[in-house]
Every structure is written in structure tokens, then in C-alpha cells.
Point group: C2
Chain length 381, copies 2
């Protein structure tokens, strides 16, 4: 069974089941020792061994979402570095090696976290439990992922967006569905929520369990200016906000059979995208979005909240009558926690109804997948 | 303009135009010097500088599709290694660094060649010319990319496939279109032909130029057994072949408005997928595929050709009456060249009409994008 761990992490998620039934085979020959090693190798007890072939290195260190701090690897006589951690809880984690001070992805691992900047580059580790997780592909009806190029008149370009189309949409040509607009974080792109967030599989599973009714999920590219641009006269929320409301939403409502009113639109996001969703959503409560939410949100300064939410707090009973959901979630180990808590307190002080979910966790996809799984059943009820 | 090169390579291809108009900004602070450097930086004269922050390394070497062999980087007093190459022809290239014997991707570059195994991991370099290339996104109508999960009864799993749906398909609900089934190579997956091969943009551009009529492109996952499995009683062509003919084609013909006959089906592929296409296609000439083609194909042994093509060569005039295209292309610098030439000679000897295209180039996407661009106008005429 020497190839099994390599195959399991290397193949696209939906194939693991089939290939686990295939006979094992020796790993194919490769150019360098770094690619000949198996890494990561998940053992039956969910301990995980990481390996790196680097005979000339003097120090190799592992960092990852499954532990605090770092852990050194140890070199054997062939120049293969290794370390074993765990047992780990079933989950999808990201990690890096640092080789003599140089932070790299695992050269033996095909599964990567990529995005719109290199700062997000990490290797992926999937630890499976005895039963499929809520984000795993199961033998249930699956939706489709559509990638579109659309004209952004506001940004004067053509750009991409991704749509999750739930199972049944194509067959039921009379149905019109609600839409969740779901935004990624900094350094990510319009593919992040389905590649890393597994939004499609999470919703496929919730649908199969009868916990949600079908809706579309639209995942745009939430940058209206280049990543890393400092906030100036034009900020990203404003720039992207125009693209979203004047280009993305009209495009979606012309291409798909959707319900085009505020009661059937939600705007949510994570990190940078959570900041956009929690500023834009409540401010377009009356005409665009009855549902808003932010996960580990990148919020502005609390002293600006009275200005940012002037209209929302002006007449709380009017606003509360329109709010179907205003959801703020953050992990206690997350640098964004304080700001999320401050926003919740500000809303409480101003009598605006909302949900503040304080959970375990840091600034990772582990938290965001769970939040989507928790929030989705609260939408469009 | 310090951020520009970083931004250009970092962002999804369609956004470069918009962001090039944005004001420049300092690169955001990052954790390690490796991520603070700009790499690769394409200069106005199309020379390219590669950089790596690795103060403790003793040797750093560059390899890439833009040159033969390798080139050493030189370290400056801050521990930043660099080398400048070119000027390079406008093209999309892949490259690696090797740091003290360890082959890695460029930690400062968000654009990667990824696949179903780690052996394919490389960084991407896009060198733009004065005019858009045939594979660049242009201001023309764009098709959609659909990702499906389908039930493979033959492989007893659910697996993914990708479909290019040309512009106009959704609007013209009376049209039924032909289908090109297009296969990836070893270590790649069902996303390779659009992410790396730009199949969608190449066809969008050909359509806009009036050089092709619309057709669907179906890009399945062309592994029927795990990557690297040695050929035994069951080989990948057989295993995947059953999935293709019994699961993929029926799925496509039930989901899309397509013409379901041999005159409107083509089967093509590259490398491993070219080997599958050139074995399966001509052998299902009578019932499934009037068009077959292989790019840099991974073919079997020439001594097996008489057995592999027994039916095709039995009655050349009958076969030739059915062949609309049998296309074999390979670059002279490609290790697969000899086998492609041998197949062409075998077909010539047996009076089977076909096209053999002998071109410049090696075993790279540079060649395969050009072949698709050349072959597409010969389909479904």
C-alpha cells in the first residue's frame, strides 16, 4: 500500500474512492529525491509524516494549521528529512516547509492552496475520518460549477466569476431560485470558495439531507483594485461594490432563472470579503440584500462604525423589520476577533438585531467551511 | 511601477488589462524575503529577471521551457539570488528553481502549473507581446466553463469533467452542436486543457474571427486507474476507454443539446491522452468518432501497431471513406517524436489517409496550444 497516501492526496477529491480500490503500485521514478518521497503520509491512526529530500539543507522546519508554532524535521542518512505529528482530527489543513529560512510548498504534494498572490501559497493535507465529513464529496446529486467571463463596465474590463448551480436547476425549468453572493478573502480569487471552501459539496450535502432548499451561489472576484493597494481615495469596497451591484448582479439575473428581489439575495464573505459584505450588505438592506454575513471579517476602525452604519442605526425598528439575517462570526484565536466583537457590541448598543457567533478557531478555511455549513440553513427560509 | 510585474503575473488573466490602469503601489509586507522579492519580472524589452530570497543557500539554478539546460542565479549582499534571461518570445513558459539540489516552484509567483501528481509542479511565466496572442483573453464573446460531477458506472465512482460551452449556446435553444472530446496528459487532470491549454480562449478567438463554427469541448479526467500504475492486464486506455464511451458520452448527450453521431464527434488528446485518442479513435471510427487526433502522443510499441489497428487497415478504402480527420502532430525536440513518425509511416504503408505534422518544439503546452489552434478549424466542416 505504498502508493496509497500519495494517490489519495494527489487525485481530485472525487476520485479517491475509486482509486483506493485499485491495486497498489510503486511510485513512478522522478527527477529529484524531493519528488520521490511520499509526503504527507497519513497513517491509519491519523498521525501524519511529512518528508522532504534535501541532503544539503542544514535546517528544515514544518509550520501548519494543525499546530501552534513550528516543528523541526530530522535528516536521515539518505538526506531525507522527516517529522511525524498527530494524531490529527479529520480536517483539511494547510502547511509549509521552511528550508534554511526559505518558506516553500511541499514539492512532493500535488494539492496546493493557490490564489491571486503568492502570499497564499501552501500545501494541503487532508485527514479523513471514519465517516465522510460535511465538506466531502458523497454519493448524492451534485450541482455544477460554471465559470463565466462578464463585462465589467465599472472596471472597464472582462473578468471571471464562478457560479454554483444546485442539482435540479437544469431539469426544473420553471423554478426561479434565490442567490447567495459569496466573497473570498485577500490574496484569493473567484475559485477559492469552491476549491478551498468546498461550498459546492457543503451545499450538495445539505440539500441531500433536506436542510436547505436550492439556491445559487455566485462567487465573484472581489478585488476592484490590485491586491495590496493601500486604502486611499478609492477603497476596494467601493470599487468592487460598484462592480457587484452594477455588473455582477445584472449579469446573473439575465443569465439565470433567479428571484431578483431583496428577500432572495444574500451577501456574505470571509476576511476581506466579510468586510465588504458587512459594509455593503446592511447599507443596501432596503433595496438589495435581506441577508448579510461576515466570517472573520476585515472590518474598518470601530470609531468609523457610526458613519459606516448611519442609515442602518437611524431607525432601528425599520431596519430590524427588514433584516432577515445579519450574521457575524469569528474565531477567538483570529486576529480579526476584536473588530467583529466591537461591531456586534456597536449593533447591540444601537438596537440592531443580529447574530454574533464566537467560536474556536483561527483565520483559516477550517472555520469558514464550518460557518458556511452553519449559516446556509438560515438563508431564504 | 514596482508592483506591476507582480500584479500582472498574479492576477487571473482577464484582469491584467484593468489593473494595469491602476496606480502602482508598494508590495505588501510578507513573512520571508522569498515572498518580498518580485519574481519573475518581465522587462519592457522582454528580458526576464528571476529572483529568490535565500541567504543561506549555496547554489540556486534556474530551469525553464525558454532555454536548454540550466542557468545559475547569483547572490547579492542581502541574500537575494537573481538571474536575467532573454529577451524571450511572447509565450507562456514554465520553470523551476533548484536550491542546493532541491527542485521547487518560485515562492514569489502565484501562477503555477499544477496537476494530479506533484511531478508536474512548475511556476508559470507569461511574456506578452505588443498584440494579444491567439490564446489571450480578448474583448470578444466568451464561452462558459462548466464543471460536472458524473456517475461513472464503469469505475464505480463519481468523478469530475469539464465542458467548454461556446458563446451563443445558451441563447440559441434550437441549436444542436458537435463535440470535441479532448484529453489531458499524464500527471494532469480535467482542468488542464482550459487552465494551461487555454482551450476556451483559443476557441473564443477562432469563433470571433469566423474560423470555426461553435462546438462543445468535453475535457474528462483521463485516468481510469491511478497515475503511475504500470501497464498490466488492465491498461489505462482500456479502463478510461470504457468510462469515456459508456459514461462520459451518454452523460454529455443527455445534459447538452449536441449532435449524437460519429460525424459530429471528435476525439483528441495530448501525450498520454494522445495515445488514448489515437488508439480509441480510429478503432471506433465506424460508430463513434469521425475525427481523431494526437499531440505528442504516448503511443504503444510500433511492433504492436498491426494488432492495435487491425480493423482500421483491413479495408483501407472503407476506412478512408469514413475518416474525416486523422491528425498526428509532434515536435522534433520531443521524446515522443519517433513513435509519432513510426505511426504515420505505418499508416502510409497501409494506405490509411492521415495528416502528419512535424513541427518545432518539445513536450510542452507551447506546442499543444498551437496544435489545438491549428486543428480546431479542421473539425466538423
Amino acid at each position: 500500500m505504498k502508493l496509497a497516501p500519495l494517490v489519495l492526496v494527489s487525485l481530485s477529491l472525487a476520485f479517491a474512492g475509486a482509486f483506493a480500490q485499485q491495486p497498489s503500485a510503486p511510485a513512478p521514478a522522478a527527477a529529484t529525491p524531493a519528488q520521490r518521497v511520499v509526503s504527507p503520509e497519513v497513517h491509519a491512526d491519523r498521525q501524519v509524516t511529512f518528508r522532504l529530500g534535501a541532503p544539503k539543507a542544514t535546517e528544515v522546519v514544518l509550520t501548519g494549521e494543525f499546530m501552534r508554532g513550528s516543528k523541526p524535521l530530522v535528516k536521515d542518512e539518505r538526506g531525507i528529512w522527516s517529522v511525524t505529528v498527530g494524531p490529527l482530527e479529520p480536517e483539511i489543513y494547510h502547511y509549509n516547509f521552511t528550508v534554511d529560512g526559505l518558506k516553500i510548498v511541499d514539492p512532493a504534494n500535488a494539492e496546493l492552496k493557490t490564489g491571486s498572490t503568492a502570499q497564499t501559497l501552501q500545501s494541503s493535507l487532508t485527514v479523513r475520518g471514519d465517516a465522510p465529513a460535511f465538506y466531502d464529496g458523497r454519493a448524492v446529486p451534485h450541482g455544477e460549477i460554471h465559470t463565466h467571463w462578464y463585462d465589467s463596465k465599472s472596471l472597464k474590463t472582462q473578468r471571471r466569476l464562478t457560479v454554483y448551480v444546485p442539482p435540479g436547476y437544469e431539469a426544473d425549468t420553471a423554478a426561479r431560485l434565490p442567490v447567495l453572493y459569496l466573497l473570498h478573502g485577500a490574496n484569493a480569487d473567484e475559485t477559492a470558495w469552491y476549491r478551498l471552501g468546498r461550498a459546492n459539496l457543503i451545499l450538495d450535502n445539505l440539500l441531500a439531507e433536506g436542510k436547505i432548499k436550492p439556491f445559487l451561489v455566485v462567487m465573484p472576484f472581489a478585488y476592484g483594485m490590485p491586491p495590496g493597494t493601500p486604502r486611499g481615495e478609492r477603497d476596494n469596497t467601493t470599487m468592487f461594490g460598484v462592480d457587484l451591484t452594477e455588473d455582477v448582479i445584472p449579469f446573473i439575473e439575465s443569465r439565470y432563472r433567479v428571484k431578483a428581489d431583496r428577500e432572495h439575495r444574500a451577501l456574505m464573505g470571509l476576511s476581506m470579503g466579510g468586510g465588504i459584505a458587512l459594509r455593503l450588505g446592511p447599507n443596501r438592506l432596503l433595496d438589495l440584500f435581506a441577508y448579510s454575513g461576515g466570517f472573520s471579517s476585515g472590518l474598518g476602525r470601530p470609531e468609523d462604525f457610526p458613519r459606516d452604519y448611519a442609515e442602518l442605526i437611524a431607525d432601528p425598528s425599520k431596519s430590524n423589520g427588514k433584516i432577515r439575517l445579519l450574521w457575524i462570526g469569528c474565531g477567538r484565536e483570529d486576529g480579526a476577533f476584536k473588530a467583529s466583537k466591537a461591531l456586534s457590541e456597536f449593533l447591540t448598543t444601537n438596537n440592531i438585531k443580529h447574530t454574533f457567533r464566537e467560536t474556536d478557531g483561527a483565520h483559516t478555511w477550517i472555520v469558514w467551511r464550518r460557518y458556511l455549513h452553519e449559516v446556509a440553513p438560515q438563508l431564504f427560509r
